[in-house]
Amino acid sequence: MSAPLIADADHPVPLLDVQSLGVEFQTRSGTVRAIQDVSLSVRRGETVGVVGESGSGKSVLFYSVLGILDAAGRVTGGRAVFGGLDLTAASPSELAELRGREAAMIFQNPRAALNPIRKVGRQIEDVLARHTSTPSAQLRARAIEALAAVRIPDPERRYHAYPFELSGGLCQRVMIALSLACSPSLLIADEPTTGLDVTTQAAVMDLIRELATRRRMATVLITHDLGLAADYCDRIVVMHAGHVVETAPTAQLFAKPRHPYTARLVATTPHGAQSLSALAAIPGNLPDLRRADLPNCRFSERCDRKEAACVSEPLTTTEFEAGHRVACRRPL
């Protein structure tokens, strides 16, 4: 029926291909250059992790790809090609058609993302009615199926529940059911397990991975938990202050991080640290992206390996091994 996963992963054309994307926000205190020259690609059946501190532009990047940027935001350059369609040039109606059906997003806070005064089953029906040709007589059955697919116990009863009646883990599952109801080919999961217990987190992540494998979805996992990314991603993209600083297959990134920021990020993660003293901190903060005099390497002010050229010369990207790219003049 379909080609095996491996063939998909090797397919020459990625499902989502972002090239040199730039995004700016106009604010009263100046222009925020939130994303600059970002390139990344996601293939069918592949899970790509996007990691970085808050404010590094992880969410904004994918909001701009899906055309749900805040009104103050603007794509300043580059392209985001999804299955042959350039999303940055697509009309709002084309994007609206695509969102929910072909590309779905799981938002950070399910309680805020769900409609508080509509039954969860109804909310799934809304998506099905909008994006699929499901006859209205079958909507209810399909919504219950969608709830059952994410292993919500007793889906017939939960169909009638309002979000406030469900626990955080169940709300998150409803959110996933909603995103997956139309079998999208691209799933963007933005911190899908923040605020959940470790046990629930494991269950939710296992579920996303299982559905992704079964439906050969391309999955993007946005997270600041490196441990989570290590467990569930094939490749990891590290972002810092609106730049992609390093991209590598997961095992390679952890075995040999090349960018000083990645190395520091790995060292701040409590998992695996033997004692508190082994837990290093990253000095400084993200630079203010409104500044006119931003250095070319936006990490240079926090970096102990910086040299004059890091500030004055354009950022260069080096490919070490296949698929391991680092945007640094003095990589580790």
Partner: protein, 337 residues
């Protein structure tokens, strides 16, 4: 931590919430109002200068226990001895003006939500000093600056409002406010959950440093087990209102005895490469409303449950030095482990 004197002793504490008031008819018919067993017979101690971690899933009663200890909620039964004195006898309404009140302080989960947006950092830190220590004027200003210095919050930031501060700075304000009264017990409810990993590392170092310098005890509530492992001397694992395992942090993490603790530890992300077999818990916890007293509450989700677990509720038994677990399947004390 062996010979340290006990600062806090929680003894047989229970908190049962009645669900609904039960109408007149119900009472006439002798029908009981269902009770939610939020905290159901908890015993533990915190030594002076000791830091104890409290872990468990949401809904296990961690927050209720914290509210009982900080005395914003009255226990149904049991004693909460702080420095030898039973605080459970002071009604929650009167505790705010009790002399013991400044001795227990709390750091809340989300530094953004727990700070008044219309108060500057200085106001936030001064508030408890003004109310509970009765300070004002020069003395108040000095104590505020001292607390700010202790958490390494630059004085220039004291005039700022929460929206003008970064997450890490807000966390520092929350900690400064709690330590300003020089408490002996600091209760920290997920103090780093809202922070980035890089900031989290800095705040954890600060907390460890403050504990040694000021000689406080910590009750550290978290569901980030890695953080608990790094910061705590001893760990309590809670499941549905009860403590199911307690032990020295190093030993509990290396050799967990209760199946629930094992499942919790194996759910920590970042272990896929370690070759460890994941333990996955199926289903939801049993309802905390009128649970069967003669049945292990973990049964149903427990990967190791057996028939005997349905007819006997396990109690905490010694399974190592300072290490106790409540599971019927554990070998009896003294037996080969």
């Amino acid at each position: 931590m062996t010979a340290s004197s006990t600062l806090l002793a929680v003894e047989g504490v229970r908190k049962l919430f009645p669900l609904g008031r039960g109408g007149v008819l119900d009472r006439l018919r002798g029908r009981r109002v269902p009770l939610l067993h939020a905290v159901d017979g908890v015993d533990f101690r915190i030594g002076a200068g000791e830091s104890v971690g409290l872990v468990g899933e949401s809904g296990c009663g961690k927050s209720t226990l914290v509210r009982l200890i900080t005395r914003t909620l009255d226990p149904t039964e049991g004693a909460i001895r702080f420095d030898g004195e039973d605080l459970a006898r002071i009604p929650a309404r009167q505790f705010a003006s009790a002399p013991q009140r400044p001795g227990i302080q709390m750091v809340f989960q989300d530094p953004t939500d727990s700070l008044n947006p219309r108060h500057t950092s200085r106001d936030a830190i001064a508030e408890p000093l003004r109310r509970l220590a009765g300070l004002s004027g020069r003395a108040l200003a000095e104590r505020v600056e001292e607390a700010a210095a202790q958490v390494q919050l630059p004085e220039a930031l004291l005039g700022r409002y929460p929206h003008q501060l970064s997450g890490g700075q807000k966390a520092r304000v929350g900690i400064a406010r709690a330590i300003a009264l020089r408490p002996r017990l600091l209760v920290l409810d997920e103090p780093t959950a809202a922070l980035d990993v890089s900031v989290q590392a800095v705040i954890l170092h600060l907390l460890a440093d403050l504990k040694t310098r000021l000689g406080m005890s910590y009750l550290f509530v978290s569901h980030d087990l890695d953080v608990v492992r790094l910061l705590c001397d001893r760990v309590l694992v809670m499941y549905l209102g009860r403590i199911v395992e307690e032990g020295p942090a190093g030993e509990l993490f290396a050799l967990p005895r209760h199946p629930y603790t094992r499942a919790l530890l194996s759910a920590i992300p970042g272990q896929a490469g370690a070759g460890a077999q994941r333990i996955r818990l199926e289903g939801d916890p049993v309802s905390p409303v009128d649970p069967d007293p003669k049945r292990c509450r973990f049964l149903g989700r427990c990967p190791e449950g057996e028939a005997a677990c349905a007819s006997a509720s396990p109690v905490l038994l010694e399974c190592g030095p300072g290490h106790r677990a409540a599971c019927l399947r554990l070998p009896p004390p003294g037996g080969a482990g």
